[in-house]
């Protein structure tokens, strides 16, 4: 009796499972480290609203590029720049026509100490600090923007010997947060919570001082035809995600 009942129930269960999986998929996303905090919030909201889940990996865009070229199974990339997604599309590693800007990054000069960084960034010209942290300008758009801003302010030559470079923007933040560098250039999103600087002191670098840090997203070859990936791409362009993105100091 029981076995017979099981026989009837099991196919139903299997059917349910298969369809639940199709309806609520998982999308694996490579996310630039400056977008870590907003992505965590967006992923939670996205899961609550759509039932799809996000498996994010946070890291440096350049490293992700190398991994994707070598077969990493990411379905989507949220890059720190607009060049990497474009290149992936050209190389046929991303789904054509799925590229879009999800945020424009803002740069901040930040110190963990209150009062060290003034509201106009005059501390850069004043000096009085031994080290200044930034992301490697060769690798990270935020590092390149920092160098550009310092050049515009005509303090680059003087500050260059004091550079300590993180491999990416997350490491630059770590150097400043641990006090090993008294101040440094980080992504505004890393130090901003709910529209204000969470701790220490900061100067939001005017975007007129550097080329815009346009961050593009793209669906990768592995994500082609994935309902969850398209849903996330659409969600990132929706009002709810955009409000979250703005609350971390990005422009849109």
């Amino acid at each position: 009796m029981r076995v017979a009942a099981l026989r009837r129930v099991l196919p139903c269960l299997a059917w349910l499972l298969v369809h639940a999986a199709a309806a609520a998929g998982q999308v694996s996303v490579a996310v630039a480290s400056n977008f870590t905090a907003p992505m965590q919030k967006i992923a939670a909201a996205f899961a609550a609203d759509t039932g799809h889940t996000v498996a994010p990996a946070f890291g440096a865009t350049g490293a992700f590029y190398a991994q994707i070229r070598n077969g990493a199974p990411f379905q989507m990339l949220l890059a720190a720049d607009d060049e990497t997604p474009a290149r992936l599309e050209q190389e046929g590693l991303a789904a054509a026509g799925t590229r879009f800007a999800y945020a424009t990054g803002r740069l901040a000069l930040w110190s963990a100490q209150p009062g060290l960084v003034d509201g106009k960034g005059e501390v850069l010209a004043r000096g009085g600090f031994e080290r200044i942290a930034l992301a490697n300008p060769k690798l990270a758009p935020y590092g390149a923007a920092a160098v550009e801003a310092m050049a515009r302010l005509q303090v680059l030559a003087r500050l260059q010997p004091r550079f300590v470079q993180g491999e990416n923007i997350a490491q630059a933040l770590q150097f400043v947060a641990t006090g090993n560098a008294p101040l440094g250039f980080v992504a505004l999103s890393q130090v901003m919570v709910d529209g204000r600087i969470a701790r220490g002191s900061a100067w939001v670098v005017p975007s007129s001082l550097h080329a815009p840090i346009r961050q593009d997203a793209v669906i990768l070859a592995a994500g082609k035809g994935s309902a969850a990936a398209s849903a996330l791409a659409a969600y990132l362009r929706g009002d709810k995600a955009r409000a979250i993105i703005r609350s971390f100091g990005y422009e849109l």
Partner: protein
């Protein structure tokens, strides 16, 4: 296009300097420590041996993270170095040296300890009956007998320091001629998609490592056995 850029040469030179100094310091530090571990009956032996072996097991990022925090301006080591007027150690060559010594410690201590254990107590007792003072006996009897252990310890410390990556990434700051070593330079080349330059440096590292291990097994079969 030249095989190596000026920045690559700087990184190679810095790496060799770091590995040489680390090896010298480690031999000085590890010799008494290994001697003690090989001969003591103290209850501290097991815990000390475990601490010495920790860098074998811990991910370099764990070491790097704690070095960054403890040597930073708010950490105990950082406060001490600041009081001594030395500033803080992260982002300096001295800081990398401290990190490398800790990172490669087991590679110096363990071969030496095994070599000293292989020497045994008997030669030292004989030397003592011939009225050799302990230090004299150690230098003229134990050290020559443990020579393969010293060779292995030196080669492994040097090679392991050359291969260091995670610790430098965490506390280095990527400063040319001060903290930018070959491994981080390769990482930078890969991330910047400069694959040709990455290949030159990475291939060089493979050849170097192979040559070291080959030399080790050819010159001294005993010293390799000491490791096991």
């Amino acid at each position: 296009m030249p095989a190596f850029s000026a920045a690559d040469f700087d990184a190679i030179w810095l790496t060799l300097k770091l590995a040489t100094l680390t090896t010298a310091l480690l031999l000085l530090l590890a010799t008494p420590l290994a001697w003690w571990l090989a001969r003591t009956a103290s209850g501290w032996r097991a815990p000390v041996a475990a601490v010495v072996a920790l860098p074998l097991v811990l991910p370099p990022t764990v070491l790097g993270f704690y070095l960054l925090v403890t040597m930073g301006p708010h950490g105990p080591v950082g406060q001490a170095t600041q009081m001594l007027g030395l500033g803080t150690l992260p982002f300096t060559f001295a800081g990398l040296l401290v990190g490398s010594v800790i990172y490669s410690l087991p590679f110096a201590v363990q071969p030496l300890q095994h070599a000293f254990e292989a020497v045994g107590r008997r030669p030292m007792e004989v030397a003592a009956t011939l009225r050799a003072r302990p230090l004299d006996a150690f230098l003229s009897v134990a050290v020559p007998l443990a020579r393969p252990g010293f060779v292995t310890a030196a080669i492994l410390s040097f090679a392991h320091t050359v291969g260091e990556f995670g610790v430098v990434l965490m506390i280095g700051g990527n400063i040319p001629q001060q903290t930018r070593v070959v491994s981080t330079q390769i990482y930078g080349h890969v991330e910047a998609l400069e694959y040709t330059q990455a290949h030159w440096l990475a291939g060089g590292m493979v050849l170097f490592s192979f040559a070291v291990l080959l030399a080790l097994s050819l010159t001294s079969r005993r010293s390799l056995r000491v490791l096991g």
